[in-house]
Point group: C2
Chain length 152, copies 2
DNA sequence: CCATAAATTGCGTATATACACCTATTCTTG
DNA sequence: CAAGAATAGGTGTATATACGCAATTTATGG
């Protein structure tokens, strides 16, 4: 009994301090709030920026393909596209293969992206500057590795 | 014109590849799904585990204090407490200072935590094993630094 | 050519996140 | 002690996330 209770206490302390999932989510919350604050004047959120960028880079793309690119659940992306479509930043139309939807950035979306990118850079520089370039590069590499491990 | 378009393209490519916010969120999604899959049989989610653990370690704690501990928005925590209370894993009662709420883990919550912790360890070992101990420790340190920078 | 499998997407449901605003309680001070 | 300040918490609203299931369309094997 005493042993089990002790193990529960020490394991809880270890989990609180070292859990990769918790610490990733914690950092995500903090960093997302920083980006959101800086991007606020554009009306675009930190979470929406990658979608706009990927749409811009892909030209015209299906929901599933875009979800793969963003390493995002397909149904999550579908929900996330809605406010962007409502704001006129993207269009969603039926593709030639009528099972698919073709996502494309509108000219308004491109205009907004032009305003977003300098602010993104500002936020990014605050983080990179605070971390230092070495830790920044190390962080990116480890996040990439974590994704590979988690999905393998 | 050509210059601006080029800058937009290259900046978009840079953002897609290096954005700290996006890469953190991406890794959070992937890692959370791994933990969720392993924890599934307990009925407790990866996001709920830290709340149970912090409640267990704190003994009895107010919403705001728990939110500080978890580096989580107070109102987010309030919403997250609801399903845990519904499942009977925690109790929420008015504190002596009647402005406050006292959060406490129930005996059922402790029993569930006993089942959760070994599975948490299993998930954690998959990630740590995949990353290697050096990269794991480095990742934790950089996430901690990122939180400090983002909140400063 | 048709029956069936595969591919693509949407929707129902539930939880996670956080900002703005509101209420209730306690503290502070004249 | 009463009025304003400070503190603790909840609610409305909007977006983010993802699992399971259903619907539609395309590809494929006999």
């Amino acid at each position: 009994m005493a042993k089990k209770a002790l193990s529960m206490l020490s394991k809880s302390q270890e989990a609180a301090a070292t859990c990769v999932c918790f610490n990733l989510r914690k950092a995500s919350r903090a960093v997302t709030q920083l980006y959101d604050g800086i991007l606020q004047e554009t009306g675009v959120r930190a979470t929406q920026t990658p979608i706009l960028i990927a749409s811009y880079l892909a030209g015209e793309v299906t929901v599933s393909h875009l979800a793969d690119t963003l390493v995002m659940d397909r149904t999550t992306l579908t929900r996330n596209l809605k406010p962007l479509e409502d704001q006129g930043l993207i269009t969603v139309k039926t593709g030639n293969d009528r099972r698919t939807k073709a996502i494309a950035l509108t000219s308004q979306g491109k205009a907004v992206l032009t305003r977003v990118l300098p602010l993104w850079e500002k936020a990014q520089k605050q983080i990179v500057g605070g971390l230092g370039n070495d830790r920044f590069k190390s962080l990116l590499a480890e996040l990439s590795a974590a994704v590979s491990v988690a999905r393998s």
